[in-house]
């Protein structure tokens, strides 16, 4: 083997054995640049986002929307844009909203969102008449089935301890028959099928979902026949902000992603160059 052949093979191997920490450092630097100096690039809206938006705005004002909110504090960076844009759309279009949380964090997030960021009162919405918060219960899939069958069996009172019979909005609503649309927000890909099995199949209920970025491809097989639209990650949350004309936290996140992925792409390229070089360079 000649000295040149030894050198070229060594170079391909070096390309494939770069210390990961260089990747980490490069990616961190690239992520920080747009945080300090935003680019402000446009966002293009996708079909599932349009389906999500249209499912809400096509309802007549006064329609009842149930929001199953599994929000997680640890995942706010990824999903907050979706939440805030959705709450604004619901209140702007005068929907009657029932909020309930299968996860404990959901209530804490709603306290913050509905108490400070998207105040329903700013849209002329009155608690108990136009929206109600039922609180948290560890529902799981059987719990969703219980809710759709008998709301009072799961939530006898709202978060303030008021019996549902004493809340004007909930007087005639105790199961799926009083609900026009279900918005299912989940933080785990294993619960993508829950609304299909517990709302769409038994009651032919209109359903849209908010998911994490990795769960969007898992929700796609159910779109648009079983779920009318879905949001997947902060990117689609930003799209919803753009579509509905409600700027929010998504724009900052989208902008900052621009350079962050370049480090990953560079290493994908280097990894493949190393593989191809070793394969066609005569090594092994």
């Amino acid at each position: 083997m000649s000295k040149e052949e030894k050198g070229s093979i060594t170079m391909w191997e070096k390309l494939g054995n770069i210390d990961y920490r260089w990747l980490y450092a490069l990616s961190l630097v690239l992520m920080i640049i747009p945080i300090l100096n935003p680019l402000g690039l446009p966002t293009i809206v996708s079909e599932p986002t349009k389906g999500f938006y249209n499912a809400i705005v096509d309802l007549p004002p006064g329609s009842v929307v149930a929001v199953s909110f599994q929000g997680s504090l640890a995942l706010l960076d990824e999903q907050e844009a979706q939440f805030i844009a959705t709450w604004k759309i619901l209140f702007q279009h005068e929907m009657k909203v029932i909020f309930y949380s299968p996860e404990s964090d959901g209530e804490i997030i709603l306290n913050d969102h509905l108490g400070k960021i998207v105040k329903p009162e700013d849209y002329g919405r009155v608690y108990g008449v136009d929206y109600v918060r039922l609180g948290y219960a560890p529902l799981g899939e059987p719990g969703e089935a219980a809710f759709s069958t008998n709301i009072r069996g799961v939530f006898p009172t709202d978060i303030h301890g008021t019996a549902l019979d004493q809340i004007p909005m909930m007087k005639d609503i105790n199961d799926h028959t009083g609900i026009d649309l279900v918005i299912f927000q989940h933080t785990a890909c294993t619960s993508v099928e829950w609304p299909i099995r517990q709302w769409v199949v038994p009651y032919n209920m209109k359903c849209i979902t908010m998911t994490l970025g990795c769960c969007g491809p898992m929700a796609a097989p159910y779109y648009p026949k079983q779920i009318l639209g879905f949001l997947s990650g902060s990117g689609m949350g930003t799209e919803l902000e753009v579509l509905s004309g409600n700027p929010g936290p998504g724009a900052v996140m989208s902008d900052a992603k621009n350079f962050g992925v370049l480090g990953l792409l560079l290493f994908l390229v280097l990894g493949n160059l190393s593989y191809l070089g070793k394969r066609f360079g005569g090594k092994e």
């Binding site: 920490r21 980490y24 961190l28 992520m31 920080i32 945080i35 300090l36 995942l75 706010l76 960076d77 990824e78 404990s104 609180g135 948290y136 219960a137 560890p138 799981g140 899939e141 059987p142 089935a145 799961v154 006898p156 009172t157 099928e193 299909i196 099995r197 517990q198 769409v200 199949v201 038994p202 994490l212 970025g213 990795c214 769960c215 969007g216 491809p217 898992m218 097989p221 026949k225 079983q226 997947s232 990650g233 902060s234 990117g235 900052v252 996140m253 900052a256 992603k257 962050g260 992925v261 990953l264």
Partner: protein, 211 residues
């Protein structure tokens, strides 16, 4: 920023950096953060679920809904799992949970995930408005059928079945690639969120005093 906001920024920054140090190598600061969140998370769920037990069981029982004693006692029986000689008693509440879970799952699975999915795959081709949509419908149908053949493990993947399984594998790889991409962008967003916290809240807000 008041005292608690400043302290919160310092504590938050400590924990963010302690978890990020695991990228360098496993170290005591990362372990400390990891152990802290384990304890905190369990306490968080205990607090919320205790409230639910009170609201959904104990208060209704005190108001006369005596039947709710049954699930309350079943829940208590779950703790027999901790004692080897009595662990078999926890099969009773587990049986209720599993039986109900399977029952609600089966009913929706048959139609929602099998019949309706097959129907959508076939109907999409014949109800397509344009040739492009019809072509996409055919591609989806091919992908669905070949992906199903990939999961047949009772016959060897040779001949026509082998060719079909190979095509199905390609469709499944595209699907996995999309999932990977979604995950990667999700984690990227999370990282950006932490960097924004460190830069805006901790460095600018707390250290430099720029609001």
């Amino acid at each position: 920023m008041n005292f608690w906001e400043i302290l919160g920024a310092w504590v938050g920054a400590f924990f963010v950096i302690s978890v990020m140090t695991m990228l360098w190598k496993d170290n005591p600061y990362f372990r400390f953060g990891q152990q802290a969140i384990i304890g905190g998370t369990i306490a968080h769920y205990v607090l919320f679920n205790m409230k639910n037990v009170i609201n959904m069981a104990l208060i209704p029982i005190s108001k006369g809904h005596v039947i709710l004693i049954v699930p309350f006692i079943l829940g208590l029986l779950m703790y027999t799992r901790l004692f080897r000689d009595y662990a078999w008693i926890s099969k009773y509440p587990t049986s209720v949970l599993v039986g109900v879970g399977i029952g609600v799952m089966i009913a929706g699975t048959l139609r929602g995930q099998i019949i309706d999915q097959i129907k959508a795959t076939v109907v999409d081709i014949f109800t397509a408005g344009t040739a492009y949509d019809a072509l996409n419908g055919v591609i989806i149908a091919v992908g669905t059928v070949t992906a199903i053949t990939f999961w047949i493990f009772t016959r060897e993947h040779t001949g026509a079945l082998g060719a079909s399984a190979k095509i199905g594998r390609i469709f499944l790889m595209v699907s996995l690639g999309a999932n990977w991409a979604g995950e990667e962008v999700w984690y990227l967003t999370q990282m950006i969120g932490r960097l924004i916290f460190l830069i805006e809240v901790f460095i600018k807000g707390t250290l430099l005093g720029i609001a």
